[in-house]
């Protein structure tokens, strides 16, 4: 992380307010994009705002590397009365990931929108996208539990509308978005109820303050119930098995730019918050937290990795295959967290980063291949390797990482998970990862078979190569899947810094 500090050169006046500008930039951009005169303007605002967010995230990361934790009092009001933003190693890692994926998706959306969303909705699409970006960035930078709920809902409300915009291609996006809205709102409300219980027990909403006051309250039934509510609510948002029912529809029918963005960031932000509650606000060695991690989270995560990979292996719609695979991969990440050790959490975070990159790239690639034709099922992609070689090359790199081929980022993060599990003598985790990887081999090779080996049906609409504006962000993401597999020093530093920050409060 230290190396970022030297990368970054912003005026100190900006740097001092970087934590809040990180959120405010996209938020102001959202308003500007909604008022923009045309779709081109809105797109430029979206790109500018998301690149600004990357810049600010880099600045914050540099500060975190220097100081350990960056505290920012919004409006100058100190906590507990005021709302504080508090970015530590984990928050900085997440902010970097989210803003980077956001910038890639913003670039990508320029062309993909033309094919997928009605023209007069483009400005509103960009506004919704920036709202969602601002919400997610706020979520990972806030130090206040209720504020986290507000940011969670800012991002979610944007997301519901964005998924519904997929209706131009497939009207099934509408019921999918509605379903997502219902499940997401129930999840958020559970979260609020849980925070309410904790507030009732501690009288504070500031996360750091809450952690201190909760420490002697471990036996309180209200606190335990609050944790359970928060856990279930965030489980719904993170698509934790078996609360993932909304995900295949929302990812399957939403516009591809949004699917790529959500799969890479939205569920990850919910996982971030879950980790924040389990490890920083509560302590993992507390009996009920440990019990929940070991006896609820771990089995569910393991079940997700196997069952949803199996569903992916039987699905026929390419986007649904990838969506089910997302639920399975969320299972991997949660397995890492459920180990409850610094090594396990670090491995989980590394897989979080690798999955964000590869699933973002995969959904972008599928979207890029289908700009010209509305291809959905495996047979629609027959012969794609010949018709769209660059797109399929990017798809192949990311899919190799998804399978866990050696020398890819996906292999490395799975390997770290296995190492962390063996250190805890949890051999069943290794078995789960092995079975799930085998199933991943099946569903990925089904997609490869269609793209590389099958000849397209006579007279069927053919997949076309995507323009450079779409290919560039896609190739960057999938290139990183390979690059980080060879030289993983950057993501490993970030994941380690994140895990250490999570456990910092107690050790």
């Amino acid at each position: 992380v230290i190396s970022f500090a030297s990368l970054y050169a912003a005026p100190p006046a900006l740097l001092a307010h970087a934590p809040v500008l990180l959120v405010a930039g996209p938020l102001i951009g959202a308003a500007a994009a909604a008022l923009a005169p045309g779709s081109r303007w809105a797109w430029m605002i979206s790109v500018a705002a998301s690149i600004f967010a990357v810049w600010m995230a880099l600045g914050v990361t540099g500060e975190v590397a220097r100081l350990g934790v960056v505290d920012y009092f919004v409006g100058g009001f100190a906590p507990p009365a005021g709302i504080a933003l508090r970015i530590d190693g984990l928050g900085a890692t997440m902010a970097l990931l989210i803003s980077f994926i956001g910038a890639a998706v913003a670039l990508y959306s320029g062309h993909s929108l033309k094919a997928e969303v009605r023209d007069r909705k483009h400005t509103l699409f960009q506004a919704g996208f920036l709202l969602c970006l601002a919400g997610l960035l706020g979520l990972v930078s806030t130090g206040d539990a209720f504020n986290a709920f507000v940011f969670l809902e800012i991002s979610s409300i944007g997301t519901y509308a964005l998924v519904a915009l997929g209706e131009r291609r497939d009207r099934r996006a509408l019921p999918a978005a509605f379903n997502y809205l219902i499940m997401g709102t129930i999840g958020a409300t559970f979260f609020v109820i849980g925070v309410g219980f904790m507030y009732a027990a501690t009288g504070t909403l500031n996360m750091a303050d809450m952690a201190v006051r909760l420490a002697p309250l471990g036996d309180s039934r209200a606190v335990q119930a609050g944790f359970a509510f928060v856990f279930v609510g965030l489980g719904l948002k993170a698509a934790m098995f078996p609360l993932h029912g909304w995900l295949p529809g929302a990812y399957g029918y939403g516009p591809s730019a949004i699917t790529a963005f959500l799969s890479a960031t939205a569920t990850k932000a919910a996982i971030y918050l879950m980790a924040r509650f389990a490890f920083t606000i509560f302590q993992p060695d507390e009996a009920f937290v440990h019990g929940l991690l070991a006896w609820v989270l771990a089995p569910l995560a393991g079940a997700a990795a196997v069952i949803c990979s199996l569903q992916a292996a039987f699905a026929n719609d390419v986007r649904r295959i990838l969506a089910f695979s997302s639920v399975a991969q969320v299972g991997y990440i949660l397995l890492g967290l459920a180990l409850g050790t610094i090594g396990g959490v670090s491995a989980g975070l590394l897989h979080l980063l690798s999955h964000a990159l590869m699933k973002g790239a995969l959904f972008m690639a599928v979207g890029a291949a289908t700009l010209a034709v509305n291809a959905r099922t495996l047979s629609d992609f027959a012969g794609a390797a010949r018709d769209a070689p660059w797109t399929v090359a990017a798809f192949t790199m990311a899919a190799a990482s998804l399978m866990g081929v050696p020398l890819t980022f996906g292999f490395l993060s799975k390997w770290r998970l296995i190492e962390a599990a063996l250190a805890q003598e949890q051999a069943w985790v290794v078995a789960v990862i092995a079975v799930s990887s085998l199933l991943a081999l099946i569903y990925v090779s089904r997609m490869f078979e269609a793209m590389f080996l099958r000849a397209p049906a006579q007279g069927a609409p053919r997949v076309k190569e995507a323009p450079i504006g779409v290919l560039a962000p896609l190739l960057v993401l999938s290139g990183l899947c390979i690059w980080f597999g060879i030289d993983a020093s950057l993501p490993e530093t970030l994941a380690d810094a994140g895990a250490r920050a999570l456990f910092g409060a107690q050790r």
Binding site: F149, E153, A161, A164, P175, I182, I186, T189
Partner: protein
């Protein structure tokens, strides 16, 4: 039983929560599901507000100590209780949860608006807002579309 009687406000919260959730899951009509969701969300508001209520407390607007209003409010509560919980001779309710719920209400209204807007679009696209009928339409059309290719 007396526990329930003294905690009737929490009972009301739980009943509202559960009925809202039940409506969301039992109903196939999209508008009814939104109504259930709104009840579910609003009941958390009641939960927070009920947490904030301090017995004998007035609205959290600072009353001039020693003024006529302050004396009237002080007279309404037990002096020992006042000494323990009062600030400047007046007992106030906790304002923070009220503010939080103001925010949560705004979030809830926005969610409701987006949900209803999507329901309108569903109606335009499918001609119905019954979840079962929508699923049936989708299941009929999908195989036909696949066969076309």
């Amino acid at each position: 039983m007396s526990f329930l009687a003294t905690h009737f406000n929490y009972v009301a919260v739980v009943v509202l929560l559960m009925s809202g959730l039940y409506i969301v899951f039992s109903s196939g009509n999209l508008i009814r599901r939104m109504i259930g969701l709104a009840i579910f969300q609003t009941s958390t508001g009641l939960f927070y507000i009920t947490l904030a209520k301090v017995y004998g407390g007035t609205a959290a607007i600072i009353v001039e100590p020693g003024s006529e209003t302050a004396q009237r409010l002080a007279a309404a509560v037990d002096p020992g209780y006042l000494a323990q919980h009062g600030v400047g001779g007046v007992v106030y309710s906790n304002p923070l949860p009220h503010v939080l719920i103001l925010t949560a209400i705004v979030v809830g209204v926005a969610t409701l608006a987006v949900g209803l807007a999507i329901a309108v679009r569903v109606r335009e696209a499918y001609g119905t807002i019954e979840a079962e009928e929508i699923a049936e339409i989708d299941s009929q059309i999908t195989p036909a579309r696949e066969a076309e290719r």
